[in-house]
Amino acid sequence: MVDLIGKRVPKLDAPEKAMGASRYVQDIELPRMVHGKILYAGRPHARIVSIDTAKARALQGVRAVITGADLPATPFGFGKDNFALKADRVTCCRDEVAAVAADSPEIAEEACGLIEVEYEDLPAVFTAEDALADDAPVIHEQWPNNVRVDYNYSHGALADGEAESDVVVEGTFELQRVTHGCIGPCGIIAEFDSTGRLTVHSLTQVPFLYRNDLAKIVGMPAESIRIKQTAICGGFGSKLDIYPYDPICVFLARASGRPVRLLFDREEEFFASPFRQPATIKMRSGVKKDGTLTFRDVDLLLDNGGRTSWGATTPWIMIRSFSSLYRVPHVKVFGRVVYTNNPYAGAFRGYGNPQATLAIESQIDEMAEALGVDPLELRLKNSLESGETTGQGMKITSCGQAECLENAAKLSGWEEKRAALPAAAEGESRVKRGIGMASLFHVGGGAKIYRSDGCGTILKIDDFGRVTLISGSSEIGQGSETVLALIAAKELGLPLESIHVINNDTDLTPWDVGVHASRTTFIAGNSALRAARTAREKILTAAAKLFDRPADEMELADGNVVMAPTGEVLGSIPKVIRSLHFSGKHEMVVTSDYYEPPSKSEDAEFKGNISPTYSFATQVAEVSVDLDTGVVRLERLTSSFDVGKVINQLAIEGQVEGGVLQGMGYALSEDMKFAEGKLLNPNFTDYKMPTTTDLPELINDFVETGDPDGPYGAKGIGEAPLIPVAAAIANAVYHATGVRFRELPLTPEKVFAKLREAQALREAQTLPTAAPGQGEAK
């Protein structure tokens, strides 16, 4: 039997998707279904004086109109400061103030236009810095200084680290807002059945947490709610929280007595969805002459927006990289998340890590230059190793950091290009080329932020050998369904086609924490593996009786029970299962497993082994910079990822390539532009996501360190590929131009302006021809 683990296996759901047959939320119609639409405030900070819905209610075809006054005032979200509809005050433009259900989306939209809201505008604030000022408007009275959360982390003793340092670099990094850009906009359908039970057709990537949250908001017991996920049209973290449109749809269904479908249009998807957390990172890093890193001192300022979702928790992940991306004995991080009247951030693939990694890896390069050593060498010298515990208490069970660095350097031709390119850059060509690298540190098997970080599996094999694998984990396009099926097929000696995965219905599926923290392959994979092994044992025990052979000399292969040493076929697996049904104790082969990873919640000082394993990777970016236009192109990107063990080669490449292009968009072109809290570019023309013409040459390498606890040694990959891209590009642009960019994205305007500024500075100082570093503009 062919072992498919590590091979190039097409996703199980790909044929259906390629035929256009998968049903997304936009494709589902229910009898008597009506259409929901939300009215947004469109102003950043105001008191709601009155809402008059009479005209909207009078419109023919309108089935329900709701406002905050009609709903229980149950706060939700990480900061418990959000409401389905805002009754008294709006604190950002995207705040929801009323909603309509009507016979068509057009009527619903028209009715929204007929709702008359009187506002009293209040003073507003649009930067975290301004919101900290003594006279800044207070956005939520419970937080009079506008600081919603602060973070204080340290290990070692910063003063010692500073004293030991021979070189100290410092800088401030500014990271912008970017949107997930799921090609399918959000949507939801809510329907009550005749007994009052609620079914929600949802895009959530955290079905069980979502159900709990929704239950509280709409005032129902969670067990009365069934979450059925439709095919999910892009996730990337955007569906990690519950957002106002979810309970709004349920309230509309309750008010109208009809199933309600609420679909976002593209503009809404842009302005009413969460985005990547913006950040201002002030950082200092130190190193000894011999290249030993000494300290990092970080001050984070995060714009929380007017409400609090997961964006406010991104420092948790940033801190993990500040503390443990390379070995650093002394680290201090102080962070503040501050209310403003902007919209708010959520989770986005990599969480805060792309932001933190840009700062860390830029400064690694700056220190290498100051010491006169190759950036590769400095990174290798400070690499973590398997078996060590980082300053933040994370236990490294498998570590390919050094190998990833070496592989990425070798595959990209680092040594030659690093030496050759600056020389070429001194030529007359208007296009300069550069090469830069960055690494990452990230959780590789979840993060224990809840009491359990587990996942359940129920596995059934029927009398024809068809396996139904019911997993709590969710398929959001990333290929987890296929990974689980591959694992079950291998353990049970059955063809992949025999494995049918159910993963989208809380009435059937066992508990899981959701798709986040790169946890699914590790945690759901282990759960599926263990459920399958239990089933395997049961089949072998029955086969031993049926065929009168020792159980430990038999194995399952190609759908049969065979003698391990000779391959002699004793009988089919279905035959053994039928023997269990029809004789002896009359049993079924139905197994279950709940896998809880050996990770721990962090303590009050943010320390602890939050994940059972950690991921490492290095990326090398090769860029060209057109000095006349400021256009930066990513020409080639080489990645080396420590993934423990590849389960599906085709899918893991897809994860890397997709992540790299998202990271490239973050680095070079994507930027949500706001004025007075209002999004100016809510469309794909003015918000530039990469297209096929931007695709760089991609080289992927996978290091298999074999994690001791991972399924077959595997660890997570989901978020990692995006994380170091921007940092590698910024380092490559510096190598090409001698100008360090600490602000993303590197748009032509920005690059052109700063190159000119640097040139003017050089000329003013009448310096000789600049070597990299001397031309740096600060």
């Binding site: 097409p10 035929m19 090609i183 593209r266 290929g479 897809g654 997709g658 292009l661």
Partner: protein, 174 residues
Amino acid sequence: MPDTIDLTLCVNDERFAVRVPPVRTLAEVLRADLGLTGTKVGCGEGECGACSVLLDGTLVNSCLVLAAECDGAAVTTIEGLARDGQLHPIQEAFVRNGAVQCGFCTPGMILAAYGLLSENPSPTEDDVRRGLEGNLCRCTGYRKIMDAVLDLAASGLDLAVKGDRVPQEGGRNG
């Protein structure tokens, strides 16, 4: 302007008569009136390409085409490629090369690839880049999509499906 207009469409080699409001787009008619939900609408503004279909053999964003313009036209949607449960070679290539993740861009991307290969059966990598530039994908990073199209081009398979050209009788507005 009349409240509704009557149209005849030949979709995937099957004739349909529909009565629709004049402002209805081809994408809406395909999805809502004909139940062909394989055509996806990602933006409604012609920016993402998810709604790509072939209209008389030419690739269009069906969200930007008024159905009223299509009377008598031949339309090929994603549902018209697979026949008798067998994937079309382009669909096969997308599946085999890992070009599908969340799948929402996939039908439009496959139609765009089909349109490209119908015009240019031996495209270079640059031709494919330019040919698919109007179709956004956020999951795959495009590499595997490019691979699928180039893989298929190299195979030299005949890609034509029935009904993707102007029908012999009738014809547009005829």
